[in-house]
Amino acid sequence: MTVVDDELTLVFSALADPTRRAILERLAHGDATVRQLAEPFAMTQQAVSKHLKVLEQARLISRTRTAQSRPCALDAEHLDAAVGWIARHRQIWADRHDRLDAHLAALRGDGETTP
């Protein structure tokens, strides 16, 4: 559980930055090199590389080791993990309120279980 939480912390802090989110959106349309990623932003390739490093540490992207240009690719698996986290939290609140409903009905003494 701790390992998963730590990974999620990396993922969420990586996603806290709007530039990094924009980079991920760009990569969702296809792999790209640092030069290609730097173009739409008013940023140096060096600045983009820093963002890529954060995304790589969070394993939201992977980079080819072989090609000279080292194109970046989106890592959908880790995105899935974080999305799953949100879904679980929603489910926790939904279940909690179901039980709260039942508890309130019990307090009213009508034994009614509201769906």
Binding site: E25, I86, H89, R90, I92, L100
Partner: protein, 146 residues
């Protein structure tokens, strides 16, 4: 971006704001409904120090194997019966939960739960298009929730 970074859950209950606020902040009530499905939250594992800076901790016991998980939070805002805010420092760099109690007609109350520090990219419509299957699945999941 201020709105999209939030996970929001809304539910209407047939009870007053005061009662709902008390349910959320009294161990004797919390033990009845707090823990996730498949767990129990024993009374002696609940700490409520109801003031800004006070502790809000719940230990949840897994029904199947007896393992425990403790949520450790600190209250930030305590305003009966309008609003309750706490922060879990150890979760995702600081998870902030805000619960708002909205008065509705006929003795009903809407409880609105916001959890922030949830990444905006997952929830913003603009970002969603490119992310493909995982967000599609998430969307489907959310719309199918009761």
């Amino acid at each position: 971006m201020t709105e999209t970074g939030e996970l929001t859950y809304r539910r209407v209950h047939r009870a007053s704001r005061e009662l709902l606020f008390d349910c959320m902040t009294t161990p004797e009530h919390l033990t009845r409904f707090w823990g996730p499905t498949g767990t129990t939250t024993p009374l002696d594992g609940i700490t409520v120090d109801l003031r800004p800076g006070g502790a809000f901790e719940t230990t949840m016991v897994n029904d199947a194997d007896g393992s425990t998980y403790t949520m450790r939070a600190v209250y930030v805002e305590v305003r009966r019966p309008d609003r309750l805010v706490w922060i879990e420092a150890g979760v995702e760099g600081g998870m902030r939960t805000t619960v708002t109690f909205v008065d509705l007609p006929d003795g009903h109350t809407e409880v609105v739960t916001h959890q922030t520090n949830v990444p905006a990219a997952y929830l913003s419509a603009e970002a969603r298009s490119g992310f493909g299957t995982s967000l599609d699945r998430f969307e489907k999941y959310v719309t199918e929730l009761p």
